[in-house]
């Protein structure tokens, strides 16, 4: 089976201008730094990492909501990296995004019907009865009552607003959906409703998801495979089952160890090892392995040589010098 979405050496850099007057200098911030990634049709790939690691930028660059600086994006076998606007438009139908903030992502002055209809109109639908019927179908699909169509975003709770955002993203019948922290802003008791809805829709419509989140528990629940990012690079990708049971990259291990445990009997004896320090600035990432400044297993080679993403004995792709040596 060939991947639905592929990234090869995908890079996004931002020019940051700083420094005092007359001593201005421009530095390149590598938000996404040479990422290779395949997303298979029908799967959910979870993408985790701490704030500022580049996971949202990666998600948006994959659907060219942000233009990449380098590398290649393949969608269903076609190179879409350099397509012009006209050629890109039919592709856009097939790739959509659900945003984190259900309060900021909906125009407060548009009715729910207009919000869901907007992408359809942009892609050539007339605002006629047939289009309205389609909007009604979308409302049903995401579990909103038909009377929601004539209302405005402020009349809905956070969970309902997120349903509107999902309806809008799915109106064009996309194949690939980037879910950018879709439940982080919701109350805990409402999160499960949205996670279940996303899973139901995936089964019903055969969707492929890139699920971006910082909550490792939610990612574990929804994903088939999980990718871990640190300072613009992917440090580990593996099947969900094995990555949580046997994380190989020290950063993945630390992330999992930092998640609070609910039931006392699931807790290890005493305190677990904590990751010291904080994520370094992406403007000036450490040489060699970016993680070496916080890594408990750091070796001399880590400070000078950058580890490459390689497949290990148990089938994880890991970028770490520890797993390279036999």
């Amino acid at each position: 089976m060939s991947p639905l979405v592929s990234a090869v050496g995908l890079t996004k850099t931002y020019a940051i201008t700083g420094g005092a007057f007359l001593r201005r200098q421009t530095t390149a911030l590598r938000a996404v730094d040479g990422v290779d990634l395949d997303i298979m049709p029908g799967e959910t790939l979870g993408l985790v990492g701490e704030s500022g690691c580049g996971k949202s930028t990666l998600g948006r660059t994959l659907i060219r909501l942000i233009e990449p600086t380098g590398g290649t994006i393949l969608f269903d076998g076609t190179d879409i990296t350099a397509l012009d606007m006209r050629a890109m438009r039919p592709k856009r139908r097939a790739m959509q995004i659900i945003f984190q903030d259900p309060y900021g992502a909906l125009n407060p002055r548009m009715s729910v019907e207009d919000i869901i209809m907007e992408p359809l109109v942009i892609h050539g639908a007339k605002g006629d009865a047939a289009t309205r019927a389609l909007v009604a179908d979308m409302l049903r699909l995401v579990g909103l009552p038909q009377r929601a169509a004539s209302r405005f975003p402020h009349e809905f709770s956070g969970g309902q607003r997120q349903r509107i955002g999902i309806a809008r993203a799915l109106a064009l019948k996309p194949r690939f959906v980037v879910c950018d922290e879709p439940v982080s802003a919701l109350d805990v008791s409402v999160q499960a409703q949205i996670v279940n809805l996303l899973q139901d829709l995936q089964a019903e419509l055969g969707l492929t998801y890139l699920f971006i989140a910082h909550d490792l528990s939610v990612v574990k629940h929804i994903s088939d495979r999980v990718a871990v990012m640190y300072l613009g690079k992917i440090v580990e990708i593996a099947e969900k089952r094995t990555i949580y049971a046997a994380p190989q990259h020290p950063y993945t291990q630390a992330l999992i160890a930092a998640v609070p445990v609910l039931r006392p009997q699931d807790r290890g004896r005493g305190r677990r090892t904590r990751l010291a320090g904080e994520i370094p600035s992406a403007l000036n990432p450490p040489a060699g392995c970016h993680f070496h400044t916080r890594c408990p297993h750091v070796m001399p080679i880590c400070r000078t040589q950058e580890p490459l993403l390689r497949t290990t004995a148990i089938g994880h792709q890991v970028a770490c010098h520890l797993t390279e040596s036999p």
Binding site: V188, L255, P260, D266
Partner: protein, 325 residues
């Protein structure tokens, strides 16, 4: 005598649509050196509870409609503003969720900590500075002497939260209230800050109230837990028992609906519906419209918080049946 005693505390707000109770009939005790977790979703009243204790709600629109807050034997709801200023800082201090906006961007962190010290204790500039260094050191800020001259923007989110904790410790309070102290932080930094809170309790013998929506944070640090829903305490329990045997249907639902790293579930068990708006709280038990165990009687009257065995209490008229089943 407990360090902090709340009895029947009810705080109401004057709004355009009449007076609305943000919290109703909140009672609990807190002992010295104890960590109490208050867990609830948005609008549950957990922050209003904290701000009422601190006397930080502007009155009006807020009004303490009923109940009392006793801190070290002293009634706070009727204390003068001057007296409350003395208590805030030296008696009770608070750490807020937003380490980005709680610090003044135009003063160095050293000046801000020394200002707090100066407001409560009369001491020389040198002694103030020493205290600030001591506190920064205490909360794990490396090379504290140099960092004293840093401005907030020069620090990361985790370090700013450490500075906030250092400020709140500067006058050696007996009680620290931490309102969502780790919500804005990454998970590895959250773990560091939670460890710091527990160390401070162990070394300084402070009591701590940790307010959060995250059950995991509660499980990690709390000795005892209050679960709040729509302005009321619905369950109270030692932390060790709560996670194994939740008694209130809302607590059960909260624990069942979050995925955990330890368990695999095919499907999450969602709580239907959404939290009621404070203006549209249903009569009777506020959770009844979302509750799978709801019976006719649930809509009739607000269920009282009834004390059970093992230092637990639950506000559900069907609690006995549900525990037995």
């Amino acid at each position: 005598m407990s360090l902090l005693e709340l009895r029947g505390l009810t705080t109401a707000f004057q709004t355009g649509r009449g007076e609305i109770s943000a919290i109703e009939d909140v009672s609990f005790d807190l002992d010295e050196g104890e960590i109490l977790g208050i867990v609830g979703e948005s609008g549950s009243g957990k922050s209003v509870t904290a701000l009422t204790i601190m006397g930080l709600l502007p009155q009006p629109p807020a009004r303490i409609a009923a109940g009392s807050v006793r801190f070290a034997g002293e009634e706070l709801t009727t204390a003068s503003p001057g007296r409350m200023e003395k208590i805030r800082g030296a008696g009770i201090s608070m750490v807020f969720q937003e380490p980005m906006t709680s610090l003044n961007p135009v003063f160095t962190i050293g000046e801000q900590i020394m200002e707090t010290v100066r407001a409560h204790d009369r001491m020389s500039a040198r002694a103030q500075r020493d205290r600030a260094i001591e506190m920064l050191d205490r909360v794990g800020i490396p090379s504290a002497t140099e960092r004293l001259n840093d401005y907030p923007h020069q620090l990361s989110g985790g370090q700013r939260q450490r500075v906030m904790i250092a400020m709140s410790l500067a006058c050696r309070p007996k009680l620290l209230i931490a309102d969502e102290p780790t919500t804005a932080l990454d998970v590895t930094i959250q773990a560091q800050v939670l460890d710091l809170l527990m160390d401070l309790r162990d070394e300084l013998g402070m009591a701590i109230i940790v307010i959060t929506h995250n059950m995991g944070v509660i499980a990690e640090v709390a000795d005892r837990v209050l679960v709040m829903y729509a302005g009321r305490i619905v369950e109270q329990s030692p932390a060790a028992n709560l996670f194994d045997a939740p008694q209130h249907p809302y607590t059960k639902g909260l624990l069942a609906c979050v995925p955990t790293l330890e368990q695999d579930r095919h499907r999450l068990i969602a709580i239907p519906g959404a939290l009621p708006e404070p203006t549209r709280r249903p009569p009777g038990c506020c959770f009844a419209p979302r509750c799978t165990y709801c019976i006719e009687a649930c809509h009739a009257a607000v269920p009282p918080l009834i004390v059970q065995r093992d230092d637990r209490a639950v506000a559900c008229i069907r609690a006995d049946e549900l525990v037995a089943s």
